[in-house]
Amino acid sequence: MTTAVIRPTQSIAGYTGPSRKMPFLVQVWMMSRRSLVTMFRDPAAIIPGLILGVFFLVIYEASLGGAAQFFLRGQSYLGFILPLSVISTALSGAGIAGQAVIRDIDSGYFDKLLLTPISRAALLLAPMIAAALVLVLQSSAVVVVGILLGLEPATGWLGVLTLLGYALLIGVALAGLIVGIALRTNSASATSGASFLFFPLTFLTATFTPKELLTGWLKVAAQWNPITYILEACRSLLNIGWEPQVLFTGLWVSLVVCVITFAFAYFSLRARTQRR
């Protein structure tokens, strides 16, 4: 039995009523931090991605490492394949962002936030950024395992940091897509299903061999697949050295994809309001 004693609410000194506006970046920061904190309170969602990334790295290296001597001309297959396991991890990381949005929709908290003057963009960017940061963490673990297996990054620690920067962008890009799907479907199963659907994208690219060795339709697919350019940038960081042209192409492509998927998430939210 609850018997609350009701006391008067006093106004807070210094608070001039509902009129001040929080700068956009502060909003994004506050909401991202909240998303990140709650994601870590539900670690079951984070661990599979971590295991998956390391698993891919070890299994690809073990099964293809020997054969790769022929086409990599002395380059490390570990450095070649590690970016791929980062991208595989990014797919499950994006799933986390989608699940976070679904969780908020289910609990009603998403509506609670929509009822506040918070910027809709900040509301969407928060789970995307949080999931991308989780991906950076997972990717760091993959890199550590890679180094333990004998990886020697050609660009050193700075190169590894740059690689993690790409991971962040990939995370944001894929998360935008999944968040949009979550908002359109309102369904946890459709959202996790969608992240599996994007999994083949990691194979329609220069997955196991350099792009130059691809032929036929797969070559065309790889040329159109944005993942190809991000993979190439990361591989060059680990195996070759600082190649500005390759790195810029990778950066440019990932930024474009981020903008597109964010726009998709944003319009999905608008469509959702119109539908209700």
Binding site: T2, A4, T9, S11, I12, R103
Partner: protein, 321 residues
Amino acid sequence: MHNREIVVDNLVKRYGDFTAVGGVSFRVESGEVYGFLGPNGAGKSTTVSMLTTLSLPTTGTASVGGYDVRSHAYDVRRVAGVALQEIGLDPLMKSLELLSLQGRVFGMNYKESMRRAHQLLELVNLTEFTARPVGKYSGGMRRRLDLALALVHEPDVLFLDEPTTGLDPASRRDIWKEVARLNSELGITIFLTTQYLEEADQLANRIAIINQGVIAVEGKPTELKANMGGDAINLAFEDVSLVDKAISEVQDMVTRTQVDRDTLRLYLPNAAAAVPAVVTRLQAAHLHPISLTLTQPTLDDVFLKVTGQRFTTEEKEEKVA
């Protein structure tokens, strides 16, 4: 003094062929408590969701605090506090985190938001439970925290969508007290939807009864009850068949009759004084009621009159659920 009115003009919400809200119009004055009363599925929540910018009206206009819900949605969100029927709390977060984040979203700095959070926790009597994630709260605690969240920014207009559904009687009365206090001390306009007649009767200055998407009747509770045609004499008979016979006997004495199962309700201006005459007339016709009570009209009677159905059953079902 802010504009704290709600002005609604012919608001319609359609989903395909289904009309959830079929053209409602009303005006809530600054500082008024307006009760929106109706059974499940009457269109109450849909109306709230349009007024609070969660969904867009199909046609019609509405403004909250002087701001149009379509063209000035941002300002509506700024001045409105909302506690929806579906409680909106992240189960993984804790009360202080939720309240402080809410304060910050409304423009407070961290210190202000924490001070406000502590104030509100005290207000809703949840101070002891700050260490527990909200997911482990009881229904009543969650409801109170949700209300606290709606109050963080001292809204001009407060929307409460069935704020006491699922609460025990003590918590319900606490919420009533708080709603009344917010209204009288801070002058907050309150738009309250409810399935509980007693709640509307207690709290609202004016009520509208909404049924199947349209407002069936609107007015002050006292006026609505007075319009029922005075007090009523309730007669119960052993057999339902006797009810019709009784009606024909006393028809000329009463302003209106109403039948509810085996009970006949007679509305007449001066019911108490008329009892002997009614009884004499019935006995002359060999009709012997097994019970006779005198009642003042209730909102339930008003509801029955305007919708043709009883409200009470709904209320009981809800209590079980």
